[in-house]
């Protein structure tokens, strides 16, 4: 089956990906109007547009809602609805009934076009989803929403008929300022769950970054306080350090990367920085009879002073030989 929807590329590659537009297939169409749109001519102009290249059936909204007429299952390639803003508002409590009828009347891959929408009907997309439609485009500013019946009518299992209408948001506003907001309406709960878990990979996504406020985009600016003698030193330089600590750290890092290979293990001997080698040699020479004037050197770095010759070496016991495997030290 050829797809009904023709995906038009965005007008310009420079613009962000836009919602797709769909062009109805040239099969039988159903136009649904109302008293208001019949009076102002919108309904007639819709019908004459459609009649240019296909067969068009006409229905008035009231007749469908009252159950005075029943649509032939899977008859229409497209259904087009045009109502006034006020009529859309009045329709909302009964929209699920209408959508279920239209869903049944559409053939698989048939499209539903809801025209002249007031921008306030923000829940219509979710109602459509609940009724089993796949949203093809929603252009609230242009007042049109296009939805499609899936190829396989999985929507019939998803469609939630006769579900109770969500209570107005005023209910929560009237509640005490602090209370956990729980509403026990089971229909509403299952409707929400159906929406939330609907698996439609092609669903358009929002640009979440646009939700962030300017304050959200800020980050704390690390303060860089010069080291004060006697005060505890901030040992971690902040990213934009100006107090010299970053340079100190960089210097320590550079020194720590001095290549040292241990000749004892695998026979390799490699030059190390003179001062470092002297220090290590002194530490190793002292190790067999390791003593400590402060009594803390054996205990490890946690208890050694800043200038301890053993810093960086593991803890050891007094008199114990300091053993350290530098053999793999090949960086």
């Amino acid at each position: 089956m050829s797809p009904t929807a023709i995906y038009l590329p965005a007008e310009s590659a420079a613009s962000s990906p836009k919602v797709v537009a769909a062009v109805p297939r040239k099969g039988p169409a159903l136009a649904i109007g109302s008293l208001a749109t019949a009076q102002d001519g919108k309904f007639q102009s819709l019908v004459s547009d459609l009649e240019a290249n296909r067969q068009v059936d006409r229905q008035m909204l009231d007749r469908l809602l009252e159950g005075a007429t029943e649509l032939t299952p899977s008859r229409y390639a497209s259904v087009h609805v045009t109502l006034s803003a006020a009529e859309y508002e009045q329709l909302m409590p009964r929209i699920s009934t209408l959508l279920a009828q239209l869903f049944a009347g559409l053939e698989p891959l048939g499209t539903l076009h809801v025209l002249n929408l007031a921008s306030s009907l923000s829940t219509l997309p979710s109602e459509l989803t609940l009724a089993g439609f796949t949203l093809l485009s929603s252009l609230p500013n242009e007042g049109t929403i296009i939805a499609q019946k899936p190829a396989h009518a999985i929507g019939q299992t998803l469609g939630i008929k006769n579900r109770s209408v969500a209570p107005a948001p005023a209910a929560s506003a009237a509640a005490p300022a602090v209370s956990l907001r729980r509403r026990g309406d089971p229909d509403r709960k299952s409707a929400k769950k159906a929406l939330w878990t609907l698996n439609a990979p092609s669903t358009p996504t929002i640009d979440a970054e646009k939700l962030l406020t300017p304050a959200d985009r800020e980050r704390p600016v690390p303060t860089c306080e010069p080291a004060v003698k006697g005060a505890p030193r901030r040992k971690k330089a902040c990213k934009n350090c100006t107090c010299g600590l970053a340079e100190l750290e960089a210097e320590e890092l550079a020194q720590s990367k001095v290549v040292m290979l241990d000749g004892k293990i695998d026979g390799q001997t490699v030059e190390v920085e003179q001062s470092e080698r002297d220090r290590l040699l002194a530490a190793a020479a002292a190790a067999p009879k390791a003593t400590s004037s402060c009594g803390s050197c054996f205990l490890g770095d946690a208890f050694r002073c800043e200038s301890c010759p053993y810093r960086g070496l593991p803890a050891f016991k007094p008199g114990e030989k300091v053993e350290i495997d530098l053999g793999m030290d090949d960086i």
């Binding site: 590659a13 956990l180 669903t203 640009d207 939700l211 704390p220 593991p314 030290d329």
Partner: protein
């Protein structure tokens, strides 16, 4: 002790059952979630603490109260366990009242040194609010740069949360509201108990094998692919599966590393646990609100726990010290830990552990007076959990059925400590000897990249260093698809330092290029001929800029750009190059070019898979 038995009244029960979801890659957010749960316990609130990928997301619309603790991955990205949740939340068709039954609070973990500080937490909070959720307290932002680390913001956030929660869940009369700092004023019971298990029962199967994404594998190839005299050791690994496996280019292989047996033995001796290390035990959670290591089998031994499930080579976190101090017998050691945990001593703790990357094992060699004093059950409270590591798969399964290849840089570096530091996972992999004995379990999971469905769509891969791993999968798969033409639709920008030393898979790229399946561009940053350096070193972004008309033609044709590698300056520089191409070649203004590149990203045509 607070009694948390179930109340008959369902609503009251729900009140006392708060969901705590964390999203972590390194475990810090998990730690914070455990900490939050310990605090909630004092408020008589029972927490269910779960990684967001263990939670059935369908139920989220029914939760009344959820705390989210969300780390920041890469440059402002969601940690992988949160990807599914975030993908759901991003859908444009969600109604604005979807979460109007939800009260929530978000705590982010990040590093203010990065531009997109706590970005996922910020996005999550704003999105939930846009869908009707109510934030109980303002978002907390844990900053790695804070002297107290995450705790610097976590404790005030828990304080605020306490105030908000007590509004609906008042404590019995006369109970003072606890402060988070006082949460740790006594030694908590261990989170698990061990019970003797029958010694002769066969070991239970690895829990991972119950997940269809996990497969037993054996290592067949472990080869160094950088020159022998080169400073960096990069390995090519090939694993064999006994069964057919499915994965796509861009997918990742998850591997749970093991600690070397010597390290485990040393740890057991330092704790005085060596005599009981091999007794079979069954592990039972005792605190329902504290998390356990992933993939913990019901029966094990202490040695096996310390080998596979606990990370004794991790740098100890504050939770380690908070637990250890209760067992230290030596006055000086106890005093030192007290200092480390105080605000004034935070810098000293940082200088002692975090900066030199001192391991928990090394710390225990210096704080020895707890030896023989710590009940074995506290192993799971002292030691951080071992975490799976994710590696971008470097092979196409079409080309190599029943195999997974990895391209991994072996992590080794020096700090002020004389013993070199090693990456836990890469050291484990590097030491594996190929052969039937090298058995392990590999999980195959979705990555961020995915190939365009139409093989004719141009693909531009930017993968310097080991970032080339997923690109090898892409190139192999597209070559196998026959996506070749007069002008190859696949372009690879590879960056290294030296063409002869660390140009990974050079011969393969040349062969693909000869076959017309690949346009290969090499940026060898340190190989520049004399005199050319004035223009700066050549990086992948330099080559992109040089290829501007070619790149633009492919973007105009609906092409995709994949970026993979270290999340340093490279990904940002590549984006800047693309923006500049959109300006010079597409005639877009600066703002339009920015919007164009961001649009590519939203449309899934520009994908970045980078790691820190």
């Amino acid at each position: 002790m607070t009694d948390l038995t179930d109340d008959d009244h369902p609503a009251a029960d729900a009140l006392h059952d708060v969901l705590v979801l964390y999203a972590t890659e390194t475990g810090t957010a998990q730690d914070a979630a455990d900490r939050a749960a310990r605090h909630l316990r004092k408020l008589r609130v029972r927490a269910r603490v779960l990684s967001v990928d263990q939670y059935p997301l369908a139920d989220l619309v029914h939760e009344p109260l959820v705390l989210f603790l969300v780390a920041t991955a890469g440059s402002g990205a969601f940690p992988r366990p949160a990807h599914a949740l975030w993908a759901l939340l991003l859908r444009a068709d969600l109604p604005p009242d979807l979460f109007d039954d939800l009260d929530f609070a978000v705590f982010g973990l990040g590093d203010s040194g990065y531009e997109k500080f706590c970005w996922p937490a910020k996005l999550l909070e704003r999105r939930l609010q846009a869908l009707g959720g109510r934030a109980l307290v303002p978002r907390g932002e844990g900053d790695d740069q804070h002297p107290l680390g995450v705790d610097g913001a976590l404790l005030p956030w828990l304080d605020a949360l306490t105030g908000a929660l007590l509004e609906f869940l008042p404590l019995p009369d006369g109970c003072p509201p606890p402060s988070p700092a006082s949460t740790e004023d006594a030694l908590p019971p261990p989170r698990v108990s061990f019970r003797p298990a029958p010694p002769d029962s066969p070991p239970p199967p690895d829990p991972r094998l119950a997940d269809p994404r996990y497969h037993p594998a054996t290592l067949r190839v472990n080869t160094r692919i950088t020159a022998d005299d080169w400073w960096q050791d990069v390995r090519h690994f090939e694993f064999d599966f006994a069964e057919d496996v499915r994965y796509a280019p861009g997918d990742v292989a998850c591997i749970l590393p093991q600690n070397p047996p010597d390290d485990v033995q040393t740890f057991l001796e330092l704790m005085g646990w060596e005599d009981h290390a091999d007794e079979p035990v069954s592990v039972h959670p005792t605190l329902g609100d504290q998390t356990l290591p992933p993939f913990l089998p019901p029966r094990t031994t202490l040695r096996a726990l310390l080998t596979t499930h606990l990370s004794i080579s991790a740098v100890p976190r504050r939770a380690f010290w908070e637990c250890l101090r209760w067992f230290l017998q030596d006055e000086m050691e106890r005093e030192k830990v007290g200092e480390f945990l105080s605000e004034e001593g935070a810098d000293d703790l940082y200088a002692y552990t975090t900066r030199p990357r001192r391991t928990l094992l090394e710390v225990l060699a210096e704080f020895r007076s707890a030896r023989g004093r710590v009940p074995r059950e506290y192993a799971l409270d002292l030691v951080p959990f071992m975490r799976e590591r994710e590696f971008s798969i470097a092979s196409s399964v079409t080309r190599h059925p029943r195999q997974v290849h990895l391209c991994v840089a072996i992590v080794r570096y020096k700090t002020m400590l004389k013993v070199p530091r090693r990456g836990v996972a890469t050291a484990y992999l590097a030491a594996l000897q190929p052969g039937a004995c090298a058995r392990l379990i590999i999980g195959l999971k979705r990555g961020l990249l995915s190939l365009p469905p139409d093989p004719a769509t141009p693909v531009i891969c930017v993968g310097p260093g080991t970032g080339v791993a997923p690109m090898r999968a892409v190139v192999e798969e597209r070559a196998a698809q026959g996506a070749t033409g007069e002008c190859a639709d696949t372009t690879l920008y590879f960056g290294c330092r030296s063409a002869s030393k660390d140009q990974h898979y050079a011969a393969e790229w040349a062969a693909h290029a000869r076959a017309g399946a690949l346009a290969y561009r090499l940026a060898a940053s340190r190989d520049a001929p004399p005199g050319e350096l004035e223009g700066g070193r050549t990086y992948v972004q330099t080559l992109l800029a040089r290829d501007a008309p070619r790149v633009w033609a492919r973007l105009r044709a609906g092409g995709c750009v994949f970026i993979s590698g270290s999340s340093n300056k490279m990904p940002a520089a590549v984006r800047a190059a693309l923006r500049s191409i959109a300006q010079t070649e597409g005639g877009l203004g600066e703002a339009e070019a920015r919007e164009y590149v961001e649009g590519l990203e939203r449309a899934g045509r520009l994908v970045e898979e980078c790691w820190g």
